[in-house]
Symmetry: C2
Subunit: 514 residues, 2 copies
């Protein structure tokens, strides 16, 4: 499709400030070869441009594509058998999951994301591999899935070089386990390893192959040290240097749980972020997922650094991490983006649902207690997501010269049987829209979902093939992982039980014991 005109009852081109977005009634957008070339009133644009296609019947809201700024992709951990638990023991339950074909798994998730209006995802690849697959193969298959789906992706491979089982000396932990269990785990730990040089070489290869030369600019390759407690200082700084020499982004988890904060305080005598600051690791190329346990001093450090935070509201609740101090980050000028992180509250990757949870969760009591407007949340899910995923200035708003990533949201269900005529369309979508209200999704000018039908791949085939593969009995090596996970679980749980919480003074006061 060379040119198209996309029409909306309301066109939301972008967020103006905390209390307003720019909205054109009966508006339209013209794109040519994936670039937005004109924005205005429908009648004017229809008169001015001869286009190959008109999209939208003038009854929907046209708005920028949504950006999911932290994700790992695939079937959800719950679908694979993990109930919600505190992060650290929950990770152990993931060991029991079946193998899944990387390509199909990623494509399944991409389809779900497109269905809720996500046009760009920050995919943090955990490096889990199907049997016989190399890590490079796994990355390639995941990238192929995004390419085939039509989505824009900021891709990084998650890497760590320490503390895989618990936040502490691996040898001590293994030594305290029953010897047979320790020996099985020791083998596994070795098998997961990759040296820093190998990791950086893999990044460079992906970067050269996809992130740098991608003709449509739909892919960015980022670096990803897993988290402070999982990475040596040497690994962190080697990554920082490589990012600098390639003008690449860095994405990592940070202070997701209270245990991660406490680990930093024990190990470094300061918060993990304070340690990163001291190392000289921070900068505008760095984005952090979670940041639930950021202290006041951390918020000051972040504000000075130019780094971003990707907020994962559902995941933080589900994994008992807590509630990130988003109001304070926003007040300090730290850019906040939103990530679904594999699931979302409904376990279905619905970005509008996640945006709504973010909006409702951070409403501090009192008539002047801080809270987020619909426009602030929309900014997080568009402009700030674009910055975090290294597509800043190219997507996240509807402006001439930017890439044509847009969605049409159906207002029928949102406004039935009545909606006060004074309602701002952005409030209407943020308060009442769900993924299933998204009609049409356009990435780089291409329609990747039309009238709720995925266009680039066969959803039915993907679902059928994925279901058929998993309907087979587990292979012996898969079956063996389940008892191993069950056996390890109580030891990890007990490790943290012996680690008493040091709660302190919270950021938000949602209730009062006395």
């Amino acid at each position: 499709m060379a040119t198209s005109l996309v029409r909306g009852k309301y066109v939301v081109t972008g967020v103006v400030d905390d209390n307003a977005s720019d909205v054109t009634a009966d508006g339209a957008v013209v794109q040519r070869d994936g670039e937005i070339v004109d924005v205005g009133r429908y009648q004017d644009l229809a008169a001015r441009h001869s286009v190959d296609e008109v999209i939208g019947d003038g009854r929907q809201v046209l708005m920028p594509g949504l950006i999911n700024a932290h994700h790992h992709g695939g079937l959800t951990p719950f679908q694979m058998g993990s109930l919600d638990l505190a992060l650290e023991p929950w990770i152990v339950t993931r060991m029991a999951h079946r193998d899944v074909d990387t390509y199909l798994d990623t494509l399944y998730c991409a389809i779900q994301m497109i269905e809720s209006g996500i046009t760009t995802v920050m995919h943090n690849h955990t490096g889990r591999r199907a049997p016989g697959e190399s890590t490079m193969d796994s990355c390639t298959q995941a990238l192929k899935a995004y390419r085939d789906s039509g989505m824009r992706v900021a891709f990084s491979l998650f890497h760590r070089d320490q503390n895989q089982l618990v936040y502490g000396e691996e040898r001590d932990f293994l030594a305290a386990l029953p010897p047979e269990l320790a020996s099985k785990l020791g083998d596994r730990l070795g098998g997961l390893g990759m040296s820093t040089d190998e990791y950086l070489a893999l990044f460079v290869e992906l970067y050269e192959r996809y992130g740098r030369n991608d003709p449509q600019g739909l892919v960015r390759i980022l670096l990803s040290p897993a988290n402070v407690q999982w990475c040596s200082d040497a690994l962190l700084m080697a990554i920082k240097e490589t990012a600098g020499s390639h003008d690449a982004g860095i994405h990592l988890h940070l202070q997701e749980t209270i245990y991660q904060l406490m680990y930093g305080l024990r190990r470094f005598g300061k918060t993990p972020l304070g340690h990163l600051d001291e190392l000289g690791f921070l900068g505008p190329e760095v984005s952090f997922a979670h940041g639930v346990w950021l202290e006041e001093s951390d918020i000051d450090i972040l504000a000075a650094s130019g780094s971003l935070v990707c907020h994962n509201a559902s995941s933080n609740l589900r994994l008992k991490s807590g509630v990130a101090p988003i109001n304070k980050l926003v007040a300090s000028g730290v850019p906040v983006a939103i990530g679904i992180d594999e699931a979302g509250i409904n376990d279905d990757n619905d970005m509008l649902q996640e945006m709504r949870l973010v909006q409702k969760l951070h409403r501090e009591p009192g008539v002047d207690g801080p809270c987020l407007t619909s426009h602030q949340v929309l900014r997080m899910a568009t402009v700030n997501g674009a910055e975090a995923s290294r597509f800043g200035g190219q997507v996240g708003a509807i402006e001439p010269g930017m890439r044509a990533d847009m969605i049409l949201v159906n207002l029928d269900r949102i406004a039935e049987p009545y909606l006060d005529p004074g309602t701002d369309p952005v409030d209407a979508v943020l308060y009442r829209g769900r993924g299933l209200d998204v009609d049409t999704v356009i990435v780089n000018g291409e329609v990747v979902m039309r009238d709720r039908r995925i266009t680039m791949v066969s959803k039915d085939d993907v679902y059928a093939e994925l279901g058929a593969q998993l309907a087979r009995d587990p292979a012996p090596h898969e079956a063996a992982r389940r008892p191993l996970s069950k056996e390890l679980y109580p030891h990890v749980h007990r490790f943290y039980q012996r680690w008493p919480l040091e709660p302190g003074q919270p950021h938000y006061l949602y209730n009062r014991a006395r």
Copy 2:
């Protein structure tokens, strides 16, 4: 329908304990004239009973109907033009809402509730009346709507006799307003009034007409003093006495916001609940909505009283009330039910969504931090809701002798393309089910929704008529309310701005400032 057999791939008859529900694979339930007469394996029941109809194709989850234990009904405040705000100024924005036909408004909401699997609602009627309608007419129209929809209802009329504008001396507040505004408001306050005798007489009339003699037992009439700051001690105790003489339930709001708590501490030198306890108001016939600002001492009082708490997670977030200390209530043995309170997080009365928010919201950090299992949340939305709505022992579980209130939840979307075969069906529904997955709803043996089609009334007609009525231009008296609301708003906002928060130590620690 005299008899029917309802079939499920899984039949969840009820909650056994915090970690398990009773589940029969390939099960069924037989009901006769609205009473459950047999529960067991499908093959056994099909052989044992000759029935008029078989419902369900053996692929769904059959479970007890859900109970929405605190609601006010109708189009949502957002649909009528109110953005989410702190409760006290938000109440002022409600003054600007259009008039709505009570019958249609209630029926619209009943349809939405049935569509998400709600079979019983605790409807707390605010007494808002369409033009020319008496309060009794308004109650009668709302009750007729529930009757026509097929739902079970615990109905109460909300009543108050003080502090309508702010929590404090009305005369002082009015005296400080611009005189013209004060005079308009003074007229309005007079017009809303009803004496305690009139209120109690109205209760008795409704009770005699519907709550006592209803042949199918689908209606309970409860009493409802609005909230401690809105009721004189004399009103509270007159209601308590009338409830006792009629064996009726009492439902009221309590400590919903920090201002309500602070009002109690200033006025009584103790919490509002402490004051109720001192009055001798408490007992097992009393249920409280919200309870966000319950202190430790309040939880002890509740545990000793036999009173219940109806938790309104979405409403508490949306209206900046906070997060109720549900984990502590549960640990103390206080029965907790769940209410949507007009909207829910998605502004659409989806009970499964509300249950999920409850489950995800109360997950305290740390490997042993308190949290709720799916079974505990299901208990809240069934057995505990039945107790709060005064249908205890009759609905809330699937057992011979109980009334036949049941729902069939479609597993197709929940389990596609894969769900670990070891997943408990209750977890599957609680983690991934949404209102739209509810296929069929049965109340008192009658099918009120079949294959997602509402059976007792025409949904299309209700939506069309409600939409048409509101599409008309506002009448002069409706149009006049909007500027009045706008004029009053800043005065109420300022009243609470001058009331500094006294936060104290919270129940939950979700993050840490230092």
